[in-house]
Structure formats: C-alpha cells, structure tokens
C-alpha cells in the first residue's frame, strides 16, 4: 500500500513537472523571436543614436567583428565592434566595452568613436547601479552621458579625463562618484585602445556580407 501511494505521489509530481515545463517551453517558443528582435532593436537604437544612419551607407551590425582585450576593454569576454562606412570609407565605429569597477557589477557600454578619434557618443547598455543614484548614467534618466560627445584624447588632457572631484572635467552625481568615475575611465581606455589599433579595427575581418532583412525598418 505505501508503495502504491508513493508511486502515485511520484507520478503526480512528474505530471506537474511536465506541465510546468510545457508551459515555459511553449511561452519561450512563442516569445523568443520577439525578445531577440527587441534586443536587436535596442542595439540598433543605441547605434543610430550615436552614429546617425545618414553618415553611413552600410549595415554596421552586419559589418562587425569581435575583439578581445581585457586590459583596455575591461572584460576578457569578446567585445563587438560595429563599423560604419560611407562608400567603403571608414566613418566611425561603435565598440562595446565594460566598466568593471562600478558600484555594483559590470557596467556595459557602447562607445561610438569617429574615424578621427573624437567620441561620437556613449551609451550604457546594461548596469546594476543603485536606482536613484548611480542610474543617472542611463540616457533615459539623465543626459549626463551626452557629456562625452566630441571629446577626444587630444582635446581633453589625461588629467581632464576624470570626474570633477578628481580634478577632471566630467560631472559626478551627488552621492555617487564611483559610477561616473568608472565610466570615464572605461571610455578613456577605449579611446586609447582605438588610437593604437584604429587601422586594424577597420580592416580586420571578412568583407561585409550583405544581409537581407536586417536593414528594414530604419533609415
């Protein structure tokens, strides 16, 4: 009798596990394409915000390479470089980088750099900074991140590449200095990396393959 009871309980447990898994599997099947599309859209929006599509005629997402440099890009994981060209000539690139020394967890950045080495713009793509304090780095919450546009290693000295508290030109937030300091440092390092590797960054990789379907819906 107890054996029968046990088996019944086990069967019921198994049944509900199957039902639960089926529900999740079905929802995943139904949503994963849309979620991937949302992520692509978000990336494209950030890309277009820092490198307007009027400046290039290629598809930077298709014309991308992976690089890896833990010292300069803040992470030992491969980072993406999206290259924008006009009639085959390099215009700008946007690379992903990580600011590892934020207040909590990695801050992921998308850094747009014009061919001449000035910043086209910077966006935070993922972070876990304190809501209400450090999250002002998010473009949706404050325009602090716009302060990077047009800066370069030549028009801003190494000493100026710091937050104001440390003697530089970038604002910090009341109560949150660690976060802006981490981003300023990450952006400066990315610029230095670019300065050393500009030509390889634009030349590396296969010639762009024209992908269909990716470029629809914007421009």
């Amino acid at each position: 009798m107890p054996l029968k009871k046990m088996l019944l309980s086990a069967a019921l447990l198994g049944l509900f596990a199957t039902l639960g898994t089926a529900l999740v599997a079905y929802t995943y099947e139904y949503t994963h394409e849309r979620i991937a599309q949302n992520e692509r859209d978000a990336l494209l929006r950030s890309l277009h915000a820092i490198i307007p599509s009027s400046r290039h005629d290629n598809d930077p997402v298709a014309d991308s390479i992976e690089i890896s440099d833990a010292t300069w890009l803040g992470s030992n994981k491969p980072q993406q470089v999206y290259r924008a060209r006009q009639q085959g000539k390099p215009v700008a690139l946007a690379l992903t980088a990580v600011a590892p020394d934020g207040y909590s967890d990695d801050i992921k950045l998308l850094i747009g750099i014009n061919y001449d080495g000035t910043l086209a713009g910077v966006r935070v793509t993922a972070h876990a900074e304190t809501p209400g304090l450090g999250d002002k780095i998010d473009e949706a919450r404050s325009d602090w991140i716009h302060g990077f546009a047009d800066r370069s290693l030549s028009n801003t000295t190494a000493k100026q590449w710091q937050v104001k508290k440390d003697g530089g030109v970038f604002d910090q937030f009341t109560g949150a200095t660690v976060t802006p300091r981490a981003i300023v440092k990450a952006v400066r390092k990315a610029l230095e990396y670019y300065q050393q590797h500009r030509d390889e960054l634009f030349e590396a990789g296969e010639p762009p393959v024209q992908e269909t379907g990716q470029e629809t819906g914007h421009g």
């Binding site: 809501p131 209400g132 949706a140």
Partner: protein, 235 residues
C-alpha cells in the same frame, strides 16, 4: 469554520491582512524596488498578475494534489508561471522589462505567493481564490506604490519620475516636482530608507486602526447609553 464572504476576503487583502503591512511578507522585492513610485507600481502590478494566476491554478488542482507533495507542486507551478510572465513581459512590454529588470524573476522568491497558495487557494474554490489573489496583489501593489512615492518624494523631491518607461512617451508629463530645487535626501533612496519607510507606514496603519477602534468603541458606548436611557424613560 464559517466561510469568509467575498467582501471580507477583499477587505482582508487590501487592509486587515495586507501582505506588506500586516503579514510583512515579500520584503525582498518590496524593499529593493520601492526607491521610486513607478518601479514600485510596476513590480506591484506584476506581483498582482502572478498572485491571481497562481491562486487560480492552485485552487483548480486542489483536489488532485496529495498533502505530502503539495509544496513541491506549488513551487513548480509558481516558478513556471512567473517564468512565463517574465518572457511575455520581455517580449511585449520591453521597456517595462528594462525598467524592472531582474526583479520580475524575483517574484518567485516572494513568499506571499506560496503563502497564499498554501494558506488560501489550496482550501478554497476557484472564484474565492481568484478574489483573494486580486485583493492580496492589489494590497501589495498599493503598499509598494505608497512606499515608492514616499521614498521618491523624500529622496529626490519628485513623484512619478520616469513614468514614460512604463506608460510610453506621453506619460513623461506625469512627472511632478514636489519640492523645486531639492537637494535630495540620500538615506531615503538607499536600502535603510526602505526599512525606515516601511516602519513608518506600518506605524501609520496601526495608528489608523487604533483610531477606528476607539471611534467604534465610543459609538458603541454612546449607543448603549442612549438605549439605556430610552429603556429608563420607558419604565
């Protein structure tokens, strides 16, 4: 045990047995996302949806499950339902997902969800469980929003900041500046502010309850007096 009426169930969820103020359950998400009104409201609504769905499902299968396996079954159901909700929000309300981020999967850890499944839905009919889920969820959402509003007002001097993350661009105008030129009060936004704020809100609720009781007692006494006088006059 007399069955509670639907009205009683609603009242308990919203006030008398409020998840946040009386049961003090679900503190992890409650304290983590209540740093502003909109985040509080967002997580509150997601929890409300979860509670309604889990309560209804648990109630629907309550005759099928045996007591010795009920907890693992509830946990599996809740986890699957929350995952499904998270995927759906990510797919169709991407902006909201960006704003609430990791807090949606955290609903699984909100013990009030399992608590209601165990304490109520496993013993009551579907309709009553649905109402209980609605009332409890709404009570929790209101508590979260209130705490969020309080912390945002004290911490940043605004209300409904970043409403556009949830309701679209048109909602940007909802933002209220309560104190112009406010310097900010850091403590209110940081985690200790959440504990202090929740403590103050619970104190306020208890104060209101006390006042109501005193009012009620006074009314009873007055009634007793007048009926007493009436019967004296009648003699």
């Amino acid at each position: 045990m007399a069955e509670k009426s639907l009205r009683q169930i609603t009242r308990e969820g919203l006030w008398g047995n409020n998840v946040a103020f009386v049961q003090i359950l679900g503190l992890c998400p409650l304290l983590a996302v209540s740093s502003n009104t909109i985040n509080g409201l967002g997580l509150g609504l997601a929890t409300l949806l979860t509670l309604v769905l889990t309560n209804t499902t648990v109630s629907a299968i309550r005759h099928l499950i045996r007591p010795d396996i009920r907890i693992p079954v509830f946990v599996m159901l809740i986890a699957s339902i929350v995952t499904a909700i998270e995927l759906t929000i990510n797919a169709f309300f991407n902006e909201l997902h960006a704003a609430l981020g990791i807090f949606i999967p955290l609903i699984v850890t909100n013990c009030s969800v399992l608590g209601r499944a165990e304490a109520f839905a496993s013993k009551n009919s579907i309709v009553r469980s649905l109402i209980d889920g609605l009332a409890m969820g709404l009570g929790f959402a209101i508590a979260l929003t209130l705490l969020g509003a309080m912390r945002e007002m004290l911490g940043a001097g605004t209300l409904f900041d970043q409403a556009h993350l949830m309701f679209g661009e048109g909602a940007r105008a909802l933002r209220l500046t309560v104190f112009a030129d406010y310097k900010g009060f850091l403590l209110a936004i940081l985690p200790p502010g959440a504990f202090i704020g929740l403590g103050l809100l619970i104190a306020l609720k208890n104060l209101i309850d006390q006042q109501l009781e005193r009012h009620h007692e006074a009314a009873m006494a007055r009634q007793a007096e007048t009926t007493g006088m009436a019967s004296e006059a009648g003699q």
